[in-house]
């Protein structure tokens, strides 16, 4: 029943003889009793530094997931130079094998893995009391089973080879392609010697830095086990062999079989060996495989020498010959193995996890790879969101580089292809590889037409009204459309998102967005040009040449988030984010109105409930008299569409009687100009409206017919159709457009 302790490193010394500052301080604090729940046991001296042995009281529950005791004896080893974390060793002989231990060359005493950061990061906040608290907290949480093993915690007390090995990202789940076999290992050398080895399926852009002949990899897979498999670090091939034997891995057998086969290949005899071990882990004995422990080791000797040392070959007068019978006595005891720092490559799931967001396979076709488009797309690609097709007809020019995701190496390249390549470089070996279409969306190739039919979402980042209208009305695809664009000043980003059923199409949303610019005072400046800024084209989405990249990046971030969250719900949405000069962002979300459509000869007229409510209120206000005013809206001459977007109230000099109405003119020109200014000319005068008194319907009177002809004459000069709207009882109305006959 008595507790047995392992001896701590070094020899016992008087606490007064300590010299390492942190050791001195810990001993002093323990002896003076200023560290709660800690008792000083002894001080010791080692070759590398000094050790304080301390007994700590641990907050343990009755039902312990791991057998941590209410009091544990810990040796804290402080390196003489203050260049590394002190190591905490559990001295109780039967201290359990738990998650978050450092692997050392001997299994015991076990070394607590207290921090998941380097000493340089930790030391900013490091203090003796904090360290002791961390030890006690580690023990308490381990007792409760709250410390779960991270994928591959940093193991600061191992002697690393200094080499990093990038493995396929899905290795943990699936394991290597074969249980035992060759592994392609590329050595990356950027002039500082090889620091990183690549064994994933990734294609590197910088081929010049990679070589395939300097390392040869062998992968070994074991039987599934519960609990941590590797409890000590092997130092030789022989030790590795015996360590892995109990997991069904025959290290020597595999080396003896596979290595000699490669001796004929150029470069292989001189190549160095990487051994990758993959040990699947069970949640509990008999349970499902829930991950794997992956270790990789470098055997820094030529393959030919390794073949000899494991008894597979023998050198005879400088020629390596395979032995007919293996020399079983040679077990690689003289071949040192050094662990490699293993990191998994970036998969879609991993990228999403790092972004703290769920991954998504939604098929997205992005139209436009400009300042907003390129940065927004890359934001989403990097978070594992979307399977992308990118469409852009333009070429990357020097001025683009000021605000673009692409770099100078893509100068002169088609933007879509170059961006597709960049997007493809993020995730390793992802099945949803990006596609690129270097063409004009308005004149799509057959391949692009097919792409658009098979996509889930068309993301319009083109900053072009013609493109948006084309996507809304002409494109043959059931995919939902979402449009994102900057305002001309580059201070705001706008989201127009159709509902999944496409009842409110992009063009209809665009009109409601314009009305908000007129009606909501905080949006009045949204489409205005800023003084001193030069626009080089005439469209509300042509961005001026002066937009800071920090704003573009911020709004591309907002846009990426908006695209992702909007895609989750099927609702239509209009939202405007505006930045202040210090980049504070305010968002305005608009209330959407249902839209009614009517056909008048060639012309289609759209009108939403927002306009009708305004008209009814005007009428109600003047009853029993008639009243009226002008309508503002927009034409699509190409498609013969008339959008009625808003109504202006009756000018003060109008003549309003129970049986007649004559519209006045006072202030009207100014009001219409205000509408035009607020919407950059996208809304303008489109026609007239007037009300009929109570008890009268909306039928045309003879006066009404005269009025309509007058409107027709006035607008004939502009080549646009006349429009007259009559409002009657109970919300009834008639629209007369194109010609009186076609009401």
């Amino acid at each position: 029943m008595d507790v047995q302790f392992l001896s701590a490193p070094g020899e016992v010394i008087e606490s007064g003889a300590l010299v390492v500052p942190n050791a001195v301080q810990l001993a002093r604090r323990l002896i003076e009793g200023s560290l709660p729940y800690c008792e000083f046991v002894e001080a010791r001296l080692t070759e590398q530094g000094e050790v304080i042995v301390v007994e700590v009281a641990v907050e343990v529950p009755q039902d312990r997931v791991h057998d941590i005791r209410p009091v544990e004896r810990i040796a804290v080893h402080f390196p003489r130079e203050d260049n590394a974390l002190p190591e905490a060793l559990a001295l109780r002989e039967d201290f359990p094998l738990v998650p978050h231990l450092n692997l050392r060359s001997q299994e015991k005493p076990r070394s607590l893995c207290l921090y998941d950061q380097s000493y340089d990061s930790v030391r900013l906040r490091w203090s003796i009391p904090a360290f002791v608290r961390q030890v006690r907290e580690w023990l308490a949480r381990t007792a409760r089973g709250e410390l779960l093993a991270a994928d591959q915690p940093l193991e600061p007390f191992l002697v690393w080879s200094g080499l990093r090995l990038i493995l396929p990202g899905n290795l943990h789940a699936r394991g290597p392609a074969t249980r035992a076999g060759r592994l392609r290992v590329q050595a990356l050398d950027f002039g500082r010697g090889v620091e990183t080895l690549l064994a994933s399926g990734r294609n590197l852009g910088s081929q010049d830095a990679s070589r395939n002949d300097r390392f040869i990899g062998i992968s070994l897979g074991g039987q599934p086990t519960a609990g941590r498999a590797v409890s000590a670090q092997p130092t030789s091939v022989a030790e590795l062999h015996s360590l892995l034997a109990e997991f069904g891995v025959d290290v020597l057998g595999v080396l003896r079989r596979i290595l000699p086969e490669g001796l004929e290949e150029p470069g292989v005899p001189d190549a160095r060996l990487i051994i990758l071990t993959w040990l699947p882990k069970l949640r509990h004995a008999g349970g499902d495989v829930e991950g794997a422990e992956t270790w990789a080791y470098l055997v820094d000797r030529p393959v030919s020498e390794i073949c000899e040392a494991v008894g597979a070959c023998q050198s005879h007068e400088g020629v390596m010959a395979r032995l007919l019978f293996t020399d079983e006595g040679r077990t690689g005891a003289e071949l040192p193995v050094v662990p490699l720092n293993v990191v998994g490559d970036l998969t879609r799931d991993f990228a999403a996890a790092l972004n703290g967001a769920p991954p998504s396979d939604v098929r997205v076709t992005a139209i436009g790879a400009g300042a907003l488009g390129s940065q927004l797309v890359m934001n989403l690609v990097r978070s594992g969101w979307g399977r992308w097709a990118i469409v852009d007809k333009d070429t990357l020019l020097p001025h683009n580089l000021a605000r673009h995701a692409l770099g100078g190496d893509a100068l002169g390249a088609p933007k879509a292809s170059a961006l597709g390549k960049l997007a493809d470089s993020i995730l390793e070996n992802d099945p949803g590889r990006p596609r690129a279409f270097d063409e004009d969306i308005l004149r799509p190739s057959a391949a692009l037409v097919e792409q658009l039919q098979e996509t889930d979402l068309v993301l319009d980042l083109s900053a072009s009204i013609p493109v948006a209208r084309h996507l809304a009305r002409d494109l043959d695809s059931s995919a939902r459309r979402i449009s994102l664009f900057f305002n001309p000043a580059g201070t705001d980003v706008v989201l127009l998102a159709e509902d999944a059923e496409r009842t409110l199409t992009l063009d209809l949303l665009e009109m409601q967005y314009y009305r908000a610019l007129v009606r909501q005072s905080e949006l009045r400046e949204h489409l205005r040009e800023l003084p001193g800024r030069i626009r080089y084209a005439k469209s509300c989405r042509d961005v001026s040449s002066e937009i800071p990249q920090d704003v573009a990046a911020t709004l591309a971030g907002v846009g990426a988030r908006a695209a992702r969250t909007t895609a989750l719900s099927g609702d239509a949405q209009i939202k405007i984010w505006r930045t202040a000069p210090d980049l504070c962002i305010t968002a305005t979300e608009l209330t959407l109105e249902p839209v009614r459509m009517s056909q008048h000869g060639d012309w289609t007229v759209y009108l939403d409930d927002g306009v009708l409510r305004t008209l009814s209120a005007f009428r109600q206000d003047r009853l029993p008299n008639e009243t009226g005013g002008v309508l503002v809206g927009s034409y699509d001459m190409q498609r013969k569409i008339l959008y009625i977007v808003d109504a202006l109230p009756s000018p003060p000099d109008s003549q309003e009687y129970p049986t007649s109405y004559t519209r006045g003119i006072h202030g009207l020109r100014e009001s219409v100009r205000e509408v035009e200014a607020a919407t950059a000319g996208n809304l303008h005068y489109v026609g007239e409206w007037h009300s009929h008194p109570e008890g009268y319907g909306c039928d045309l009177s003879s006066d009404d017919r005269k009025l309509f002809r007058w409107i027709e004459e006035q607008l004939y000069e502009d080549g646009v159709p006349p429009l007259m709207l009559i409002l009657g009882d109970g919300g009834t109305y008639t629209v007369h457009a194109g010609s009186v006959q076609s009401t």
Binding site: G33, P36, E59, V60, P61, Q62, V65, P129, A140
Partner: protein, 372 residues
């Protein structure tokens, strides 16, 4: 999560139970701290008030006095709002929802001092017919009630006998139930000399957190004779689980007399029934709390007795990999503080958080600042 709070009061008792539903129950109250600055005992009224203030309350659902000895009641008449007399009322006094007392508190003849005041309060509440629960065989109170013009039938709902679960608390609704072990009928001796300890309130509280049940035995000042009787009666009724424990508040400040008639030289050897209670009935990782002075290294007449502590440590706690905690030794002998036992889905555990530092500062009312 429920919390059991014990306080460094020397050889005196107070256990506050904080239920996860917010209810607070107090077992005994002893404001033992003297005016002397060197007194390491805690200022109980102040810490209790701070806790109530923090939780924005001014009452306990239940206050139980296990018996009327001074080390279980002292200072209570200055702390609590008592209904029977306006002199014990006023701002800042803490209200008692339900007062729990053994029958002896009602029937004892002129106990004197603060005990008399508590007795008056208990009698007043019993005659009023609410805000009280008396523990005994109901017949025991019949004569006293009759003398005061009240029938036993009218008060039967306020009386709970040994072997019963106390009404008002259930595992489903409150996460706790209380089972009464003492006072029990065998020891009742109507009209005769009343021995307070032998009539003290001994209970088992069962807490539920998640699916786990955690059991606390509140030992009052029970002697080995009482404990032997309790064990025998409970085993007769085949209710051994009612003596299972995860946390044991030792009787009588770690006195050897709770284990055996003989102290022993180095270690007290308990009588068989008591040995069974401690060694068989304690769970893995169990916690023993001695509400007492620090365990002396030398032999002593008054409790705590080092021989009794040696038994608990070596024969009870060590095999269970549990903890033996002494209120005046936790966290240190020089600076004892509240001993907090958390009860959650993994059972009980003694809180061992750092106490001071920035984390503690923000949870503490700082001294007043400003000019004189």
């Amino acid at each position: 999560m429920h919390k059991l709070n014990f306080f460094p009061l020397g050889n005196a008792d107070c256990c506050r139970i904080d239920l996860s539903n917010g209810n607070k129950i107090l077992f005994d109250f002893a404001a033992t701290r003297g005016a002397d600055n060197g007194d390491r005992r805690i200022d109980l009224p102040t810490v209790l008030r701070q806790d109530l203030h923090y939780h924005r309350r001014s009452h306990y659902e239940v206050v139980a006095f296990t018996h009327l000895d001074d080390d279980h009641i002292c200072g209570s008449t200055e702390f609590f709002h008592l209904q029977h007399d306006r002199r014990y009322q006023g701002e800042g006094r803490i209200h008692i929802g339900e007062l729990w007392v053994p029958a002896a508190v009602i029937t004892e003849d002129r106990p004197g001092g603060e005990a008399s005041v508590i007795q008056k309060e208990a009698r007043y509440r019993l005659l009023q017919g609410h805000g009280i629960r008396v523990f005994s065989r109901p017949g025991r109170l019949q004569a006293w009630l009759a003398r005061n013009g009240v029938s036993l039938e009218a008060r039967r709902n306020l009386i709970t006998d040994a072997g019963q679960v106390v009404p008002g608390f259930t595992l489903d609704a409150h996460g706790v139930e209380f089972f009464v072990h003492s006072p029990f009928a065998r020891r009742m001796n109507d009209g005769g000399l009343e021995d307070r300890n032998q009539d003290s309130l001994v209970m088992q509280a069962t807490f539920r957190a998640g699916t786990r049940h955690t059991r606390l035995i509140l030992g009052a000042d029970a002697t080995h004779n009482i404990l032997t009787d309790i064990v025998q009666i409970t085993r007769q009724h085949k209710r051994e689980e009612r003596l299972a424990w995860d946390v044991f508040k030792l009787p009588h400040h770690c006195s050897y007399l709770s284990l055996a008639p003989d102290k022993g030289v180095e270690k007290t050897q308990p009588v068989p029934e008591v040995r069974w209670l401690f060694e068989n009935q304690g769970a893995h990782g169990a916690i023993i709390v001695s509400t007492s002075d620090a365990i002396p290294s030398e032999d002593s007449d008054l409790p705590p007795h080092r021989q009794a502590a040696a038994y608990y440590r070596q024969d009870v706690i060590r095999p269970k990999l549990g903890e033996f905690k002494v209120t005046m030794e936790h966290p240190t002998r020089t600076k004892p503080g509240p001993l907090v036992v958390h009860v959650d889905a993994l059972g009980a555990r003694v809180e061992k958080s750092g106490g001071g530092g920035a984390g503690g500062v923000v949870g503490t009312v700082p001294p007043r600042a400003g000019r004189d």
